[in-house]
Every structure is written in C-alpha cells, then in structure tokens.
C-alpha cells in the first residue's frame, strides 16, 4: 500500500492491518505528511492531483493582494458556485414555456433551499460577469498581456465572451416578463448584424420570436454547451499561465543572471530527458536567489482565503436579496421600456442612437481590438506594474473605452424611462 514508507513492514496479520488502516488510507491518498521541510513542501504540490496545477514555488509578486486583487480566482470560484448551484437547480427546472415559470414559483415556495439556490446562482452569475470584466481590466492595466502571454490574453477575451453568453442564455430560463423581454431585446440587437444577422437570430431562437424553441435552445446552451466550452478554455488558460512562466511581474535584472547560470551549467554535464526539450522559462528548484516562495502553504492559504471570502459574500447577498421574478410572460404586454440584461444595456443605449453601429459595429470593433491588442502593442516596458508610466497611451485609450462603456451602461440602467426617453432617477 504505502510504498513511500519503507520502514512499515507487513506485520502480524489482520488486526494491525485494521489498526493502521486509517493512516494507510490517508497516506495512500495524500502521499506526503503535512510538510515541514522545503522538499516536502515541494512534493506536496506535485504529488496531489488538485494541487499539482500549482507551481512548487511562486513569485512573491503573485501573492501581493494589491497586484492581482484575486480577481481571476474570484471568477473561478464564482464559476464553481455556479456549477454547484446550477446542477442542483437542474433537478427542478423544466425548459418548457408552460412549466418553467411554475417551477420558479415552486423554487420560491416549496423546494428546500430553492429560493436560496436561485439567489446564489443569480447573484454569482451577475458577479462573474462583473469580476471577469474587472480581471481583464487588471491584466490590461498591469500590461500583463505582453509577450509571452499574448495568447493567454486572447483566451481571456474569449472567456469573457463565453461568460457573457452564458449569463445571457441563463437570463431567459425563468420565463418571466423580465427574461422574455430582455432576450427579445438582446436577440434583436444580434439581428442588426449585416448579412447574417437575421439568420443568426433565427438559429439562436429557432423561430422568428422568442418562444418554446428559444427556451429549449437557450437551456441546452446554458447547461451543456457553454459550460463545457468554458471549462475547456479555463483549463487552457491555467495551463498557459504555467507555461508562460507564472503571473506577470516587474522585470528584475539580478534574477536573470541566476537563471542564465542555472540553465547553462547543467547543460554541459547532464543528459536531458524528454522534458528537457520543453522550451520556455521553467520553474526553479533549489537555492537560487530569487523572490519566490513555496506554493504550500503561501499560495494555498491565499486561495483559500479568496474562496471563503467569495462564498461568504455570495451567501450574504443571497440571504439579503431575492433574485427578481416578475410576472409570467405576456407576449402582448411589453414593459416600457423593455431592457436587456444590465451588461448589455451599454449596447442597447448605443443601439438607440444607431442600430448597426451601436449593436454590431462598435462592439465588434472593440472585441476585435481586444483580441489583437497584444500583437499591436509590442513594447516590453511597464509589465507587472499598475498604471506604468511607459504605458500611459495604451492605458489611457483602454480606460477611456472602459469608462465610456460603463457610462453607457449607467445611462441605460438608471436614466432611461418609457420609450427610452431620458429620465432622472432622483
């Protein structure tokens, strides 16, 4: 059983086997005891399936709360909450126009923890959209998308899009007035795309209007297709973090000499295994003078803290605020104004000025710009610092666009009344 501990010899029979069983089972699962030396700390990380995603050592900069603000981790944990609550909600939900709303009422009234699950799912979804967006802002403003992390940035942008689409598809499922009209508005915006707009809308809705087909399609996308895509993209995103040498950090010249020394010396003596051919910066083990610390327990504790914080926040919010449930769908009686989900209200606001440019042109350009930005901005200066002086131009352009978008969302959310006329919320 425990092959790592040679001193435990098989002894007198069944009784002692039974007695040692708990510790044997434990050590068979977690091959290491709680680590007390650096070697053990290292092996804790790479012998555990769930921990081996971590490097053995991480740079101190990675652990600075002010640097990452844990936004990527929060997104991940929100996704975990969403998966957990979402699966539980699936046990009660029926994607049928005649039953969906009744199921919502059942969740609210009869199902144990029903309303609470729905609240958690709803608020985590909104939170995830916001946090993923903030995560992107963090990465941009610290210049973390620069070489060699260009492709990971592209993956991140894709992740943001998938997150938005996931949230959007989930919006329809309660089948109340809010859902129905928000999706009607949202899918109409998609219909403004040139040439393929109407076809795209038709494929998405399975009909010319939002109805049973749309509900079923949105459901399948929401619970099967998009989560799978998201999980795959997240996996690649994380794998790339490791392969790109961990999180970005300010360049440190004295460290580089150490790396060079280290890579050159063994090259003369040692015969490489297959792994030796893997190119790129690799993790350093040993007494190399650098600013890294062991992942166990430093990184792990930080992650745990972010996790607990995220969960407790979501729990508190879910306890305090109920997810909205409006009237059952009434196709003949649209609310005035009918508004898209808040994260698309910036689009809707722009659509109110120009259908094509607001709904497709500008957002399309923005996404395209985001996707190619690491291949345009090739400077290597200012990586790993917030608002680096060297990146003044890029940061200004980015922040302007972000603030514009936020302003549009705020106008769309709070300042638009019946017939999309300007109203004051005060």
């Amino acid at each position: 059983m425990s092959t790592l501990l040679p001193e435990t010899k098989p002894e007198k029979g069944a009784w002692s086997a039974l007695k040692e069983m708990p510790s044997n089972v434990w050590s068979s699962i977690f091959r290491n005891p709680l680590p007390s030396t650096d070697l053990e700390r290292a092996s804790t990380s790479f012998t555990n399936f769930f921990l081996h995603i971590h490097p053995v050592k991480v740079h101190k900069n990675t652990l600075r709360p002010i640097y990452t603000m844990g936004l990527g981790l929060i997104s991940l944990f929100l996704f975990f909450i969403l998966v957990a609550t979402g699966i539980l909600l699936m046990f009660y939900y029926v994607p049928s126009t005649t039953q969906a709303y009744d199921r919502m009422l059942d969740l609210r009234g009869t199902v144990a923890f029903g309303i609470f699950l729905r609240n958690m799912h709803r608020w985590s979804a909104h939170g995830m959209v916001a946090i993923v967006f903030l995560h992107m802002c963090r990465v941009f403003l610290t210049g973390a998308y620069k070489k060699p992390r260009e492709f990971n940035w592209v993956l991140g942008v894709l992740l943001l899009l998938v997150t938005l689409f996931l949230s959007f598809t989930g919006y329809l499922l309660p089948w109340d007035q809010l859902a129905f009209w928000a999706i009607t508005v949202g899918s109409s915006i998609a219909g403004y795309a040139p040439l393929i707009g109407q076809q795209m809308k038709f494929v998405l809705l399975g009909d010319t209007t939002v109805g049973q087909e749309a509900l079923l399609r949105f459901y399948v996308l929401h619970v099967a297709v998009l989560p799978s895509v998201l999980v795959l993209l997240i996996a690649i995103h994380f794998w790339r973090i490791r392969k790109d040498g961990g999180l970005s950090r300010p360049e440190q010249p004295q460290c580089e000499t150490a790396v060079v020394k280290m890579t050159l010396e063994p090259a003369k003596k040692k015969v490489y295994g297959l792994q030796g051919f893997v190119r790129g910066p690799f993790t350093k083990v040993g007494n190399v003078p650098d600013d890294s610390v062991y992942a166990w327990p430093n990184l792990l504790l930080a992650e745990l803290f972010v996790f607990v914080l995220t969960v407790s926040l979501i729990l508190l919010v879910s306890l305090a605020f109920n997810a909205p449930l409006e009237e059952p769908v009434n196709v003949m009686h649209p609310p005035n104004p009918a508004k898209a989900p808040w994260y698309f209200l910036g689009l809707q606001e722009m659509v109110s000025y120009s259908a094509f440019w607001g709904g497709i042109g500008i957002p399309g350009l923005m996404v395209a710009l985001l996707l190619i930005v690491p291949y345009i901005d090739r400077g290597t200066k200012g990586v790993g610092r917030w608002f680096a002086k060297e990146r003044l131009l890029a940061n200004t352009i980015f922040l302007t666009l972000v603030i514009l978008n936020v302003i549009f969302i705020i106008i769309g959310t709070f300042f638009r009344g019946p017939n999309w006329a300007f109203v004051s919320p005060f």
Binding site: T98, L105, R108, F305, S312, L315, E327, P328, N330
Partner: protein, 594 residues
C-alpha cells in the same frame, strides 16, 4: 492572513445557520400545529382526536384541472380550517370559509354542504392569488409582479394610493364568478351586469372592441382586458385616461364611483375565452358581428336634451358649458347643420366627413331622431360682438387662440383646421374664397357653414380680424393663371387610365398610393396632403381650382407647380378625370343599382 481566514470562515458558518433556519422553519407549520391542537380540544370524538394526534404538518394542495390551465392551490396549507365549521369564529388563517345560501350552499340535517366544493374548485378560481405560494406575501400576490393578487382583499404596494382603498371588497370577485355564470342577468354578479350595461350606455363600445359585443377600433381592444390588466390599471384608465398614455384621447367620463367600480369588475371579467364557452364559441363570436342592440332612451318632451346627457355626447363635444375637449362645438348646431346632415352623420359619420373619428353609435333610430330634433332647435345665433370675440367664441376651438390651427380639438380633426398664420397660403388666395369657406363651410371637413349664424358684415369682420392679426401680411395680387374653367379632356377609360399612371408616378409620395393623403412624405408635411378620396370635398371643388392647384401649385403648402415638371394641360385633365372617377364610383354604382 490566518486570522482573516478564520473570521471569514466563521461568517460562512453563521450564514449557513441562518440559511438553514430561514429555509426550514415555516410559518405554515405553526398554523397547522395550532389547528391540530385547537381541533383536538374542540373535538368530542375519540377517534378524531387520535387522527389529529397522528397528523403532522405537511403541504396541503388541491390540483384543479376543470378550469382552464391546471392550477395547484396550496392555500389550505395555511387555511387548513377552511372547511371545518367549528372554526367559523376564529381569526385568519384558521377561519373556516363562510357558508352562504346565495352561493348555493345548502343545509342538510343541520350540516352545510357547499355548492362549490374546494376539492373541485380549489381557491384561486374565485379568489385569484398565487396558488403555489406558501408565504403570505407571495401567495396573496402582494409583491408587485404577481398579475392576479387576491381579488378584493389585497392591494399591491405599487398601486396608486388615492384609489387603492376603493379596490377592496368582494364586489370585485364577481369578475371571477362571471367566468362561469355568463348569463347577462345572473343575480350573483350585479356589478358585472351593471358594468355591461354601462359599457353600452356610456358609449364605450363606440371606441373599444370586445369580441362578440362591439367592434370599435379607436381605443384598445378590451376582449382580454381582464387577463392583461390589474384592477388598479383599469380603474386608473377610466378615471384618468391620460395617466398611462399621455397621448390618449379617451374622454374623462366623470362617472360616479359606483359606476367606475361596476365597469372595472365588468372589464376584469373579460378574459377572452371564459370557462363557460369553448374556443369554438369564442371563434364564432369573433366571426359573427354581434349586432349591438341598445334599448331606446327617454322619450317625451325633453327627450333629445336628456339623451345628450344620457349618451355622454359631451364627453367629447361641447354644448353650453359642458366641454369634452375632443370634438366640435354643438352649441349652434341648428344654425350650421341641417337635419339631413345630422341624421346622415349619426348613422355613419364618415358619410359626411370621411376621416372623422366619431364612432358609429348603434342607438335606435328614434334616439337619433330625437337628438337631431333637439340639436335642430339650437338656433340662437351668437350675440353681436367685436370680431376678436367672435373669433374666440366660434373659431378658436379648432383654429387656435393664435390662429395657428392648433386649437383644443384640432388634433382630433382630419383634415386639420387651416393654419391661419401661414402667410404663403393666406395671402395668395382671393378674399372671396375665404368668405365662401366661412359662409358655405368646407364640404367633407369639420368646417361648417356659418351663413345662418353670422351676418355678412360679421363674416367680413372676422375675416379682416384674421388677416390682420394672424396673417399680418397684405394679400398679394396674383396674376390670373391661364387655366380652363371646365376640364377640356372628356372623361373616358383611356383618359382615367393615363391619369392614374401619372398619379402613381408623380403624386403617391405625398398623396399615397390609395390617394388618401397618407403617402410616405405626408408625415413631414404641414398642412397634410389632401385626402383625394374625400368625395364630398372633391365634389365641392371645381375643375378650375383643381387645374390651378396642380399646374401652378398651392402656395404655402408642399404642392409644387407641376407645369415646371413637364405636365401638360392634357395630362392634368387626365389626372382630374382620374380623381373624379375614384370619388364617383360608389355613387354611380348606387345609381346603377337603383
């Protein structure tokens, strides 16, 4: 870091505790436990006591499939004593539902038997509310989003405070009774019956459609009003028509509170297909235009005058000091319209003013005759007064205080009243034409003939007042155009065909493909292009004016001078023939028929 972690973990723990408490300790369990205890103490029967002892709280529900969509009513989870007569004196929710002979409940051997058994009907069929809810707020529909809050008991927080109190009372439940008891004189639904009568009496049917009852098209279709709207919306829409839609021109009827309530209950009972009919019945009602039969109103000496009040004419029209603010002034009707015109206009308003929005009311003939007779007696001409006052009294209601054609009722008139400040038009026309318009009226429009009400010098005075105050600029001497008095082109099939071809090519942008004045450009044009299908108007205009208007344009309007665009006199002759032909068709057919 570790301390923060510990604190955060503690929060998670606490929140879990709160969530568990929140999710597992239901109010309804307490109600049920209280019921079991009290029922046990009230019970004199040993077996029943044992049964009560054995019962533990659970969700009670009735599934009702006989009335529309399947309903799941869990009301009896809290109202568990609803069918237990021993609890008649208890407080809610443990009060038993009252028995009532009026509801059809009967007493047999000292025990009441319900006509409407809860096991068959559930609760929400009569009471509304959310059957699936288990919390008071949701099950009674107190949250603003539930479309059918407990009728007559619950008002939602978003309802207007000034009349929310009037929306309580079991009267409103009659709307639900009427889903099965559809007889028009069913004794159990007096308010619905009264509301139905008011729907006819107050002329609602003239503008609103209810499948099988009426076919008005001016206002929203009310066939499913009860399904779409809550009672607060209905009340508000009747009492204050513009509260929801600022552009609504529904008159304020100033009904008594009792009548408003009856109408609200009646409208709440309109839900498309009701329980008493099949969708086929509904379809038949939809297809057959059920003729509305309105019983004749008061007869006798002052019948006409009384009818004006009874039929709510002044909800739109002005008569004396009552003014609905939507339709023309009737105060001098005997002077400005003759009885034939009035009767024609009553039976079909669009026979005299083709674009009138006045509904075709289905009063019996004798009512119309009486009203006509009364209106014919309104022959007191306005007293002699300065032209400015005459203008204010007679003209300003349509043409506006400032003469800009934006009078109080102008929005509802089609064609719109002339904008008297439009210099280009006003100073290019000879004075005789304006005098004729005032004295003879303009056929096919709301402009009546004033010659019996105003002496010629009064007409001249008003005209001078208008020209000096509003138009301001003196009349231009227009060189007489070379246009024929009579259309030189004889009307023939080829001529009309050619005229139509030119019309479709040149004129439809403004006058529309149907020549009804509603072409795509008409939206941006004031004054609006003429409706060339207004037969009465077209007949009143001579060939000379048509030729002049088409060839040389109409100054002060968007009508260009077509001679500059290459139309010859023969072309115009063809167009005139075409216009005449589309307005004569009906008449000639009638003649052919006779």
């Amino acid at each position: 870091m570790r301390l923060a972690l510990a604190i955060a973990s503690f929060v998670v723990l606490i929140v879990h505790g709160v969530v568990f408490y929140d999710q597992f300790f239901y109010r309804w369990e307490r109600h049920q436990t209280a019921y079991f205890e009290q029922a046990r103490s009230l019970s004199k029967n040993e077996r029943e006591r044992a049964e009560l002892d054995a019962r533990s709280p659970r969700i009670e529900q009735t599934i009702v499939t006989s009335f529309g969509d399947t309903r799941v009513d869990r009301c009896t989870t809290c109202h568990i004593a609803s069918d237990d007569p021993r609890f008649a004196g208890h407080a809610q929710p443990l009060k038993s539902h009252p028995y009532s002979a009026a509801m059809g409940d009967v007493q047999r051997n000292g025990r009441w038997e319900r006509r409407h058994k809860f096991s068959d009907f559930g609760c929400t069929v009569c009471h509304d509310g959310q059957g699936r809810g288990l919390e008071t707020k949701y099950s009674h529909g107190e949250d603003e989003f539930w479309p059918e809050p407990l009728t007559g008991y619950v008002t939602q927080a978003t309802w207007r405070k000034d009349f929310a109190a009037k929306l309580k009372g079991n009267t409103y439940m009659e709307a639900n009774c009427a889903q099965c008891h559809t007889a028009e004189d069913f004794a159990g639904t007096p308010s619905v019956n009264r509301g139905r009568k008011l729907f006819y009496a107050m002329n609602c049917y003239g503008c609103h459609k209810i499948d099988g009852m009426s076919e008005g098209t001016l206002g929203p279709d009310l066939t499913e009003a009860g399904k779409k709207f809550k009672i607060d919306y209905l009340w508000e829409s009747i009492v204050e028509p513009r509260a929801n839609l600022a552009s609504s021109f529904m008159p304020k009827f100033n009904l008594a509170e009792r009548d408003v309530r009856a109408l609200v209950v009646f409208l709440k009972s309109r839900r498309g297909v009701n329980f008493a009919e099949t969708s086929l019945d509904r379809y038949k009602a939809h297809v057959e235009n059920v003729a509305v039969v309105i019983p004749p109103g008061t007869a006798g000496e002052k019948a006409g005058e009384q009818l004006i009040t009874d039929r709510a004419c002044t909800a739109c029209h002005k008569l004396g000091d009552r003014d609905g603010g939507i339709a023309p002034d009737l105060s001098y009707e005997g002077l400005i319209r003759d009885n034939l015109w009035l009767m024609d206009h009553f039976t079909n308003p669009r026979s005299r003013v083709p674009d009138s929005i006045m509904p075709t009311f289905r009063f019996p003939g004798e009512d119309f005759e009486r009203i006509t007779a009364y209106l014919g007696t309104l022959k007191t001409p306005p007293p002699a007064m300065p032209p400015a006052d005459t203008y204010k009294t007679l003209c300003a209601r349509c043409h506006g205080e400032k003469g800009d054609g934006e009078g109080k009722v102008a929005w509802y008139l089609d064609p719109a009243p002339r904008d008297l400040t439009k210099v280009g038009f006003m100073n290019s026309k000879p004075r005789e034409r304006f005098v004729a318009s005032i004295q003879e009226g303009v056929a096919g429009t709301s402009m009546p003939s004033w010659k019996n009400a105003l002496k010629p010098e009064q007409v001249n005075g008003v005209l001078s007042y208008v020209l000096t105050t509003f138009t301001k600029e003196p009349s231009r001497e227009i060189k007489p155009h070379n246009v024929p008095d009579q259309n030189p082109v004889a009307s023939s099939a080829t001529s009309i065909q050619h005229g139509e071809a030119i019309f479709l090519e040149r004129c439809t942008g403004c006058h529309g493909r149907k020549a009804d004045g509603k072409g795509p450009n008409s939206l941006d044009i004031t004054p609006k292009p003429r409706n060339l299908r207004n037969a009465a108007f077209v007949a009143s205009v001579n060939d000379r004016r048509l030729f002049d208007g088409i060839l040389y344009g109409v100054q002060g309007t968007a009508m260009p001078s077509w001679i500059d665009y290459g139309l010859s006199k023969n072309d115009v002759g063809d167009i005139v023939n075409f216009i005449r032909s589309i307005n004569q068709k009906k008449g000639s057919q009638q003649n052919a028929g006779q």
